[in-house]
């Protein structure tokens, strides 16, 4: 057997301070109340830093700073805003290894993903929207598109810096200023991004970062001087925000949960389909809103496909996120681990057959072995509820109509996958799927030029691409 020796990425490329304040009006300061929370490395449970909790007065200050900055920022020629964003993109490229290691430490994701997926996409997103800043009149939203004002942005913990990029880049390109709240379990990369803004000499107040938990976010999105709210996270919180914002005239975009169907027909390219299934559900520990968490397999292919899938899963390497050979890292938090465990127990108790490969897990930290459930039906809770972890529910179908009907039989509608070598079937199935992104013979592909967002309870509005500008333009 060819055992790989540990190949750890060096932690010394990133220098984490013991405590961090809020980034308001171009400088860091402690919160008004002096409240702090700890952010930990989920792979070791070690405390990485103490971070200030933004209270109401802090959020007020941040919004006021953004409001003050808005006038001159929005009045800048687009070409000048573009150059700030290009600078940010370049600095992110230059500091990408540092930021990747930081992201893996704070989030638990494998360094291979933060290095090869998150950070390149973050830089690319800023490059893409930098280019739009002086071309807004060509974007198809009228001859003189105007910014909205101050954008309140609340982002999740699964792709901390990438979700920041998805929010901040289009907002700034279109001339808005932002107050952004990162998730409380992953605040560090946003605070490092504040330093990127400083290096780029971005005017004070254009980007403000307030850290804290749900209360901070709730206060921010309810703030009367905010013109636009953008949220990525759970459908439950999204619903609350939609209620809060209703009647205020604020613009709102939501990118929420999902329960994507990954549909495999019997004429699929099998080996690549297996890769796509694995990537679809185990990428980023399954902490992906568009994860392919429901595998719909044509019955005639069921056994060979499941055999191949199990064989492939046995080669997945779970462990130290900083090891360059790790495929699956740590679950982001104790709370999320508890939720994954609970739903998995329910799956087993409801009669689905549970399987995981032999998989030694570290003693400390939050870990969950890659898991599949077979014998799942539409009636199982694990076929309906978002688990947000490395857990796949396998269902079967007989005909394309049945596959489409099952795929659509959910309140969610974020993404879907289709695997078949027949082009006309891909296009017909894609037409009928009620989902914002359909991947054919691939899965979990992202690009700044490509719009992303959901149907139904997966949210509204699109991020990315030309369409992503619309959410920030009057």
């Amino acid at each position: 057997m060819f055992e790989y020796a540990p190949a750890p990425e060096s932690r010394s490329v990133v220098d984490i301070a013991s405590s961090y304040g809020l980034f308001i009006d171009g400088s860091f300061d402690g919160g008004k109340d002096g409240d702090v929370f700890k952010t930990i490395n989920p792979a070791t449970e070690e405390v990485l830093a103490e971070v200030a909790t933004a209270g109401p007065e802090d959020v007020d200050r941040a919004v006021a700073a953004a409001r003050r900055a808005f006038g001159s920022w929005s009045a800048l020629p687009g070409a000048e805003r573009a150059k700030y964003l290009f600078r940010i993109a370049r600095i992110i490229q230059e500091r990408s290894r540092e930021l990747a290691v930081l992201e893996s430490l704070d989030n638990g994701k494998p360094i291979r993903d933060s290095r090869d997926v998150d950070l390149p996409l973050v830089a690319a997103h800023f490059f893409y929207y930098a280019g739009w800043a002086d071309k807004l009149a060509y974007a198809g939203f009228g001859p003189d598109p105007r910014p909205l004002g101050v954008a309140a942005q609340v982002i999740p913990w699964n792709f901390p810096l990438l979700m920041l990029a998805w929010k901040v880049a289009p907002a700034l390109a279109t001339g808005n200023t932002v107050v952004l709240k990162p998730a409380e379990t992953t605040p560090l990369s946003a605070l490092f991004f504040a330093d990127v803004c400083r290096q780029a000499e971005l005017p004070p107040g254009v980007v403000n970062i307030v850290t804290g938990a749900g209360d901070t976010g709730a206060y921010l999105v309810a703030h009367p001087d905010v013109d636009k709210v953008a949220f990525t996270g759970s459908t439950e919180v999204g619903r609350e925000i939609a209620r809060t914002v209703s009647g205020t005239g604020k613009r709102l975009t939501l990118e929420l949960g999902g329960k994507a169907a990954n549909i495999v027909f019997d004429d699929a390219p099998i080996d690549q389909a297996v890769e796509g299934i694995v990537n679809g559900i185990f990428f980023n520990q399954g902490h992906v809103c568009c994860a392919g968490s429901r595998l719909l397999v044509q019955e005639s292919l069921f056994e060979p496909l499941i055999d191949s899938l199990k064989r492939r899963m046995a080669t997945l390497r779970v462990g130290d996120p900083l090891d360059k050979n790790t495929d699956i890292g740590a679950i982001n938090s104790a709370a999320q681990l508890a939720r994954i465990r609970e739903l998995s127990e329910i799956g087993a108790s409801e009669g689905a057959e549970r399987w995981s490969p032999e998989c030694p897990l570290p003693d400390r930290g939050f870990w969950f072995a890659p898991t599949i459930f077979t014998g799942v039906t539409q009636a199982h809770r694990i076929a309906r509820e978002e688990i947000f972890g490395p857990v796949l529910s396998v269902l079967t179908f007989r005909t394309p109509d049945e596959a489409v009907a099952k795929a659509n039989n959910t309140p969610y509608g974020l993404s879907a996958g289709v695997w078949t070598e027949k082009g006309s079937r891909i296009l017909a199935v894609a037409d009928r799927l009620r989902a914002g992104v359909v991947w054919a013979n691939t899965f979990n592909k992202f690009d700044p030029a490509s719009p992303f967002g959901g149907y139904k309870e997966s949210g509204y509005g699109r991020e990315g691409g030309r369409h992503g500008l619309e959410a920030y333009l009057a």
Binding site: Y4, A5, P269, D271, E275, N325, N441
Partner: protein
């Protein structure tokens, strides 16, 4: 199975065209992802020695002479004269005319002697010539034969002709192991690589090999991945284990380690042995030796400290 599929052209065609397709983007992405594995320290030392033991040290030039071949054989037996812990390579690979020289030079060493045959590299010769070529090489002492398939026939859809040729050459090999060169760089698609792999295995190949080393595209990671998937699936269906040999263009230790990772994570242990996997290479060996020395001495090695050939 073998008998039924060889029975008629239409059966063979429908079988080969009924194999699952290979998505180009997907297979290349998978190979590229595996190529990012980081193999360090003890794992690297293990990999380097394994790779040395898997090398088919090759010279296939019009200018080959007995002197050149003898020198290569000496190197095959003892790749690093300064380090007796360095293992010998798997085999020497030469043209049929050079087999007698190599056989003498390798006698008693345990290093296998492979000969290309069947009108290498084009395969464009009558069957009788190909068979005579094979018999001569075996009679002169080759215990492994690297044959080329008729790509022209394959691309023209004459699958049974290709099949029958392989069967005939296998028979001419007698006890010698048969490696079937698909010349994947001329097949055009991954689907064809998968079909040609199955065709060769069904016809009796002991090994399937990517390339002659004489065309623009030789061994690549995704092509080898498709071939590894084929031998994996073939064993599942027929129980017989077929070896794989990427050849041409593998020049560095880094390259070789990527192939070992590919094996490890596609087909596993059973193929991590020179009996089941070979590298057709020449300059690779010296890079392996330099990296091996770097691991033991702790500093980078230079080419002047390793033997030519």
């Amino acid at each position: 199975m073998t008998v039924t599929v060889s029975a008629g052209l239409s059966d063979l065609r429908s079988f080969l065209h009924g194999l699952p397709g290979v998505d180009k983007v997907g297979v290349e992405a998978r190979a590229a992802a595996l190529a990012t594995r980081s193999i360090k320290t003890s794992a690297k030392a293990h990999a380097i020695d394994l790779a040395i033991r898997m090398v088919d040290l090759t010279t296939l030039e019009g200018a080959d002479t007995p002197g050149k071949v003898r020198a290569l054989c000496a190197k095959a037996r003892r790749p690093d004269p300064a380090d007796s812990s360095c293992p010998p390579v798997a085999a020497i690979c030469v043209y049929p005319a050079m087999v007698p020289v190599a056989a003498a030079a390798l006698a008693g060493s345990g290093v296998h002697l492979a000969s290309v045959a069947t009108a290498f590299p084009s395969g464009q010769a009558p069957l009788e010539v190909k068979l005579a070529d094979t018999r001569d090489a075996v009679a002169a002492g080759a215990d492994e034969i690297d044959m080329v398939i008729s790509r022209g026939a394959f691309l023209a859809g004459e699958y049974s002709r290709v099949f029958d040729e392989i069967v005939a050459v296998k028979e001419a090999c007698g006890g010698a192991h048969l490696k079937v060169i698909l010349e994947t760089g001329e097949l055009g698609t991954y689907d064809n690589v998968r079909r040609a792999s199955w065709l060769a295995m069904l016809a009796g190949a002991d090994f399937i090999k990517t390339s002659t080393g004489k065309v623009a595209v030789n061994a690549t990671l995704p092509i080898t991945l498709v071939m590894l998937e084929a031998v994996r699936d073939f064993r599942e269906r027929h129980g017989r284990v077929i070896g794989v040999k990427p050849a041409g263009g593998i020049k560095t230790t880094k390259d070789a380690v990527k192939y070992l990772v590919l094996i490890n994570e596609t087909v596993g242990d059973d193929w991590l042995t020179p009996d089941r996997f070979r590298f057709g290479a020449s300059s690779l060996l010296n890079d392996l030796l330099m990296q091996r020395t770097k691991l033991t001495t702790g500093h980078y090695a230079g080419p002047d400290y390793f033997t030519l050939d």
